[in-house]
């Protein structure tokens, strides 16, 4: 088992013929992902390695069963690409691009909600069900099967933590990158119940950061609904208010979304928050006992 995606997920790559698209398609295939089709307007009929390229998502879906899609297009075109995928009936859509206008993100999320599409991102590294299916740009080597579900707001920091867990012999079920933008498809409270239901997930690692109230909401949700142990790490302890730390979402505004508030909320519901990222594997091992 795993959440959102598994070994049977048929994946489409939107923008497969671009440099990024082709490079990461190969990485995904190497990981074991079933990439069954790609799109690139005007390049239908071509192939990338053995993968057929179509002119549109609708055309690809006429020819192949598609469950999930990943979007490799510039931010200004991301809205159109996302709407195309949602309109065509894709069930899981991974949106890598950063710098997507936030009103576009709102439009995408509301359309996705109406059509029942799960959006990962934008500004995410993607998601991976370890050993089964990777839809994203994360380095293959750290994502080995194991009992820990990881849900994170930031990318490289997740690799750091997943890597340190892998070094400590702790693999992962599914690792979900929520994305670093203010408006993203999934928040912690959407992913937590999935891990709670997943029998293979024995513990959950939550990688948060300053800004917004997603961690506080997660804490409230954990209190009510999550029986599995949760360990957290939060970035941005040293960040000054009002400054955006790279992620559009990572900003302390009007006293909301501070590091201290988040730690307090999580501690209050029994979630230990690691002070340094390398402490996460130890804490996970402790709760897994």
């Amino acid at each position: 088992m795993a959440i959102y995606i598994n070994e049977n997920t048929n994946v489409l790559v939107q923008g497969i013929t671009g440099n990024q698209g082709t490079f990461h398609t190969r990485q995904m295939v190497k990981y074991g992902t079933k990439v069954v089709a790609g799109t690139s307007p005007g390049k239908g009929g071509q192939k990338v390695d053995d993968i057929p390229v179509f002119n549109s998502v609708a055309e690809a879906m006429q020819n192949t069963q598609i469950d999930a899609s990943i979007l490799f297009v510039p931010a200004a075109f991301a809205k159109d690409g996302a709407f195309e995928a949602i309109n065509a009936g894709v069930k899981v859509l991974v949106m890598l691009p950063e710098h997507i206008p936030v009103h576009d993100a709102m439009a995408i999320m509301n359309y996705a909600r109406a059509k029942g599409t799960t959006i990962i991102g934008p500004n995410t590294f993607g998601l991976v069900s370890s050993g089964k299916c990777k839809i994203g740009i994360m380095p293959n080597q750290y994502f080995i099967p194991g009992p820990v579900g990881v849900v994170a707001r930031s990318g490289t920091l997740s690799y750091e933590i997943v890597g340190s867990m892998a070094n400590a012999g702790l693999g992962t079920t599914t690792v979900v990158g929520l994305g670093g933008d203010r408006v993203v498809g999934l928040n912690f409270i959407d992913v937590l119940p999935e891990f709670e239901k997943d029998p293979e997930t024995k513990a959950i690692v939550l990688v948060g950061e300053i800004g917004g109230t997603a961690e506080e909401e997660a804490a409230a949700y954990i209190k009510e609904k999550i029986s599995k142990p949760v360990v957290a790490y939060l970035a941005g302890k040293s960040a000054p208010p009002g400054k955006r730390m790279g992620h559009a979402g990572a900003i302390i505004e009007r006293g909301m979304g501070t590091f201290e508030g988040k730690v307090k909320a999580l501690n209050a519901v029994g979630v230990e928050v690691a002070s340094l990222s390398f402490e996460v594997p130890e804490l996970v091992k402790k709760v897994l006992k």
Partner: protein, 368 residues
């Protein structure tokens, strides 16, 4: 991008939201003229900060000479740490009631949310919860008339006042979506006689959407270093410490800063080099960091898509061209890490395995 009050009000006027008579002045002579035209005036320094009144940035006068003198003193001076480049001279309103209206984005529902209160004019954080109306707009349909009516009903407004606020809500929403705003705020929205008027304006436009709003005036909030970094595609923020930092990824960069702090140090900057750390970008990034005159530099690379040998080569090449006058600590793991470390050894640097070891070392260097 935050707009100055006067720019926000120019947009309000464009979208049909009533604002006080008046306009911006960039010289004291202009201030004289505007007060001479409109009489009883309020003169407000234009800086991207609140609490201007307490700082001496606001004055009431009907005397053009006084307006001129006040403007002459303010223009070019520093207020709350910011240089005053412009002042807004406008008609002083007879204030009967002060309301609060704002539209921003709700991360949870992923929809615009209206905040409205009959307790305006104060810091919005100070408004008691029971006086704050929160209305989540259905994104697909926008601010229809019924939604505006519902908001004024919940505010407890009636009669012509309610109708005016409804009209303002619809116009403000139109502006919010048309301009790709992150925040549009009127505080206070003033009831003055029969009129309802926006007495202040706080408008923030989504930086990521500026490409489709070339017609808007551009407000530069970034420091010179931040600007330069932006042009290079690097996410960069100036900070107050003495350890220069470069890492790849926003989250890991934040974590690097936190780790430095954890060991008693302080970062001079936030610099996320992202995925691509080619030679030129690395050189420029180091240049930016050096400009902060740090006592040590910490480079933290977790190679995934970024290849360690590429990073090492870029750094080595920079180091060969120009001596770096402060200690450099490098943490380098991930794809092709062995080759990367060899390259670094060739230029005399021993890479670290973990972020916390590297951070500890950098803090140590910076203390000496």
């Amino acid at each position: 991008m935050k707009m100055y009050e006067y720019m926000g009000k120019e947009q309000f006027a464009k979208f049909g939201i009533p604002v006080p008579k008046g306009r911006v002045a960039k010289t004291s002579e202009e201030a004289y003229q505007i007060t001479a035209e409109i009489g009883d005036s309020v003169i407000k320094s234009q800086i991207l900060s609140g609490k201007r009144g307490k700082a001496g940035g606001i004055k009431f006068t009907a005397d053009p000479n006084e307006a001129k003198e006040f403007a002459a003193n303010l223009l070019g001076s520093e207020l709350r740490g910011l240089i005053v480049d412009a002042i807004l001279v406008e008609q002083k309103l007879k204030i009967e009631k002060e309301y609060y209206l704002a539209i921003t984005i709700d991360r949870g529902t992923k929809c615009p949310v209206v905040l409205a209160s009959t307790k305006g004019g104060m810091d919005i954080e100070d408004v008691p919860e029971e006086y704050m109306v929160k209305y989540h707009v259905d994104y697909g349909i926008g601010m229809m008339a019924f939604a505006a009516r519902e908001i004024t009903r919940r505010m407890g407004l009636g009669g012509g006042e309610a109708k005016q606020v409804q009209a303002i809500l619809q116009k403000l929403y139109n502006m919010f979506t048309t301009l790709d705003a992150e925040l549009v705020e009127i505080n206070p929205l003033v009831v003055s006689g029969d009129a309802v008027i926006a007495a202040d304006a706080k408008v923030t436009i989504d930086d990521d959407a500026l490409f489709r709003h070339k017609d808007l005036p551009y407000v530069e909030e970034r420091s010179e270093s931040e600007k330069k970094a932006h042009e290079l595609g690097l996410a960069y923020v100036d900070l107050d410490g003495n350890i220069g930092v470069m890492a790849n990824g926003a989250g890991i960069t934040m974590a690097t800063l936190d780790t430095i702090q954890n060991y008693g140090g302080a970062a001079a900057n936030f610099l996320d080099a992202g995925g691509g750390a080619g030679e030129e970008a690395t050189a420029k990034a180091l240049e930016l960091i050096m400009a902060k005159d740090p006592k040590a530099i910490l480079i933290n690379i977790f190679g995934g898509i970024t290849r360690c040998d590429d990073v090492a080569n870029a750094f080595a090449s920079v180091k060969k061209k120009a001596e770096i006058p402060v200690p450099v600590v490098i943490r380098l793991v991930g794809t092709n890490q062995e080759r990367g470390r060899e390259i670094l050894q060739e230029v005399g640097i021993e890479a670290y395995d973990t972020m916390h070891e590297a951070a500890q070392k950098a803090v140590e260097f910076a203390k000496n």
